[in-house]
Assembly symmetry: D2
Homo-oligomer: 245 residues x 4
């Protein structure tokens, strides 16, 4: 048994099968491109897609997953609520979650954030610069001052998320917008990272700097080894309570 982090990469996997433009960029699916970027030295990578039974996210799969990566877009509504509950439950118990790009509108991200997760968008092949604003954070280990993508979909503020626990990156777009692109949260024992780039028509997930951010984020989000907190009725722990009989 390796000490590697067990990663499950979940992809909706519809654009690639329905749109030639996307298939030409990601012939094996976005999930496989992301997985190829992680390497096998520190990660044991598995895949799951929407059309698998239970979306590939059985109890057994989730229980052995340290960090789940999520890409979805056109079929958020097809993800069953029961599976969303299951993933949510696992995040609270420590499983890390990396939400990519259009996953901002996934059921699981909205449930964890408590907000609409809405934003502005525009498809105009704009230049994006993702600036690092927290230079000592482990998620930007090995990353330069900014990552430049020559063409991406624009996402603009206001992005309706809770203020991040840690804001690591902010994007600049050619057309005049900014966006909080790298956002850290904790929910229960789980750590969550939202990372903006990755529209399906661009080769973003082949970019070495983008791949480095995703692998850093997975390491950051890996669970700690602790028991789940005990909740509910607590017997008095310091007895007797002073002054009470």
């Amino acid at each position: 048994m390796s000490g590697n982090i067990k990663v499950t990469i979940w992809n909706e996997y519809r654009h690639e099968k329905q749109h030639d433009e996307v298939a030409s960029v990601y012939p094996e699916g976005i999930h496989k491109a992301i997985g190829a970027g992680l390497g096998t030295d520190r990660f044991d990578v598995s895949y799951a897609v929407l059309d698998d039974p239970e979306h590939g996210l059985t109890e057994e799969v989730l229980n052995r997953t340290d960090v789940l990566v999520w890409w979805g877009h056109m079929a958020h509504g097809e993800v069953q609520d029961e599976i969303v509950e299951r993933v949510h439950n696992r995040v609270l118990r420590g499983m890390g979650l990396i939400v990519l790009h259009s996953g901002h509108f996934s059921k699981i991200f909205k449930k964890l954030m408590g907000t609409s997760c809405d934003l502005k968008w525009r498809e105009a092949n704009e230049k994006e610069r993702i600036w690092v604003v927290k230079p000592g954070h482990p998620i930007v280990d090995g990353i330069g001052e900014y990552i430049e993508l020559p063409a991406e979909e624009m996402y603009g503020e206001h992005f309706d998320i809770p203020e991040p626990d840690e804001l690591v990156m902010v994007s600049w777009f050619e057309g005049g917008e900014v966006f909080r692109s790298g956002c850290c949260y904790s929910r229960g024992m789980g750590k969550i990272f939202y990372f903006r780039p990755g529209h399906e028509t661009f080769p973003t997930y082949y970019n070495p700097q983008i791949r480095k951010v995703i692998s850093n984020a997975i390491e950051w989000a890996a669970p700690v080894k602790r028991d789940y907190p005990r909740y509910g009725h607590a017997v008095p722990s310091i007895e007797p309570i002073k002054g009470k009989s």
Copy 2:
């Protein structure tokens, strides 16, 4: 038309009708005791309870409410999901929300937090000291170093909430626990304050310092005057995008 803040105090209002012990403390209901503590100088106060039609939270009521105060405990499950959606929608559009004590387990608080909101608890008539840890915050204007309650229900960590945007108060309990008792959040345009004390068998909501915190929190949570952000497709705002034809 006054410039006062429009406050709606929502109470489950069941304990008071079912348990003599509670009725003896709050004969007109917890909501009326909270409302009496606010005064009429700066607040226009209305009331709504679970057994009102639509739980008293019609679109019309919510649209004219600046800040909603919420107390519930034994009947969280009877609050209709449709009303929870309605309140959630109003919070994102700017309505303030003050969640009291056992309201930590209300549907609306859990939906806004994205976590289980679980905690430890014990009913042992323990002394509670609520220490101020953010001394310049407007919610503790006029409050001493701590508020001491001679007997309260204990709530203990871990409290399964997102890390507060601002942590204003922390409770000490005689039996050995601590608790993050005054927690500020923003969600969309809405501000949310969770305030721990207020078990139904104790006269907590008659305490002048507790009343001061609640009225401060309502003022803090009052909405700003701004349009709701525009989301969705954005036309290019700086034209033409440089280098694109």
Copy 3:
């Protein structure tokens, strides 16, 4: 005696006297332009400048100041350390502080932040868009989705500040940079707001939206009414400590 907020606007007031270009924009000094934008309804405004005795910041002036506004640039080093200590002391005791533009490099801001407060800059008459990222915050009451300034000095990330307690605004610059432009902090009982725009050669402080942000910030930063915390040796407050003789 009015219930107005007592504001002292401090300006280095050197550029205006030495550079015709600046004098033509701010003939009475940047401080007077800022003060004119506040109005007299809610604020009692005083002024202090570097070349006043004690820089105009005597104990008496500071003790009656609720919120201090700070603009400085070319003469940060001439501000005496003793006065910096005095201002610092007052901030910890509750005085609000609004630091504008090049004030990022003032001694008082660096002392309160604990970092270098360094940044990137460029004078190229660039368009700036200051986007609101926290839409329910009182500092952006009455402000649109963004404030557009047709020409400003660029400030770019990385801005070496502690991660803000609340990040309210983020700037976009034509040349490719972003900047955290509206940043809230608390230190002791004092509230601090850093606001980026305001290079001395541009008429930024006549812009009604910029003026609205500054007046909102002053209201947000006004002190609460509480005693300063007691520090040092604490007598046992719950006696006797259980199990000790």
Copy 4:
């Protein structure tokens, strides 16, 4: 060359030489007890004390240090300002800093925080319970719901620090106080962790759970591999600036 984290443990090392009571608990000094708790598997440990030349913190020592641990109490004022500047400079460039117990009043911690760092204290051999409030944080990996110390010096709120970026632990004291005991910050590229326990007359640094927290904190605070940001004048990065000639 090992891949271990290079740790320098700095101790004032005066109490141990001047007070028999302390010497009997820490005969080789607090620093050596802390170092013994780290083990050698993942850490290369060095020591430095106040009475060493340059307090043992030469440029050469600091440049090779990944994480500096700091214990001081009775002689904060003897630490030379020049050395404080040097340590500060290294923290901004990425060196981690773990500040223990009475180090809250050290020059370096106050400089990094920007506040008085004052607090309440009492020496009454009180029971302390350090509760975990952020259960998924790497600093509490392997730690139970709380750490109980049978006797410690009390530190109580208000603790005059900036609100922590992440609050990991909160202490309960028998005498009625609470304290934010495990506090994470970032300053520049450096990560800082303040950890409360460790009065010189108690064997706290032999406690396995305390040792585990310190070793976790060192791993958390280790620097990332990135160039220090470039500050100052920035040439236009996207040329020519649109609409400018």
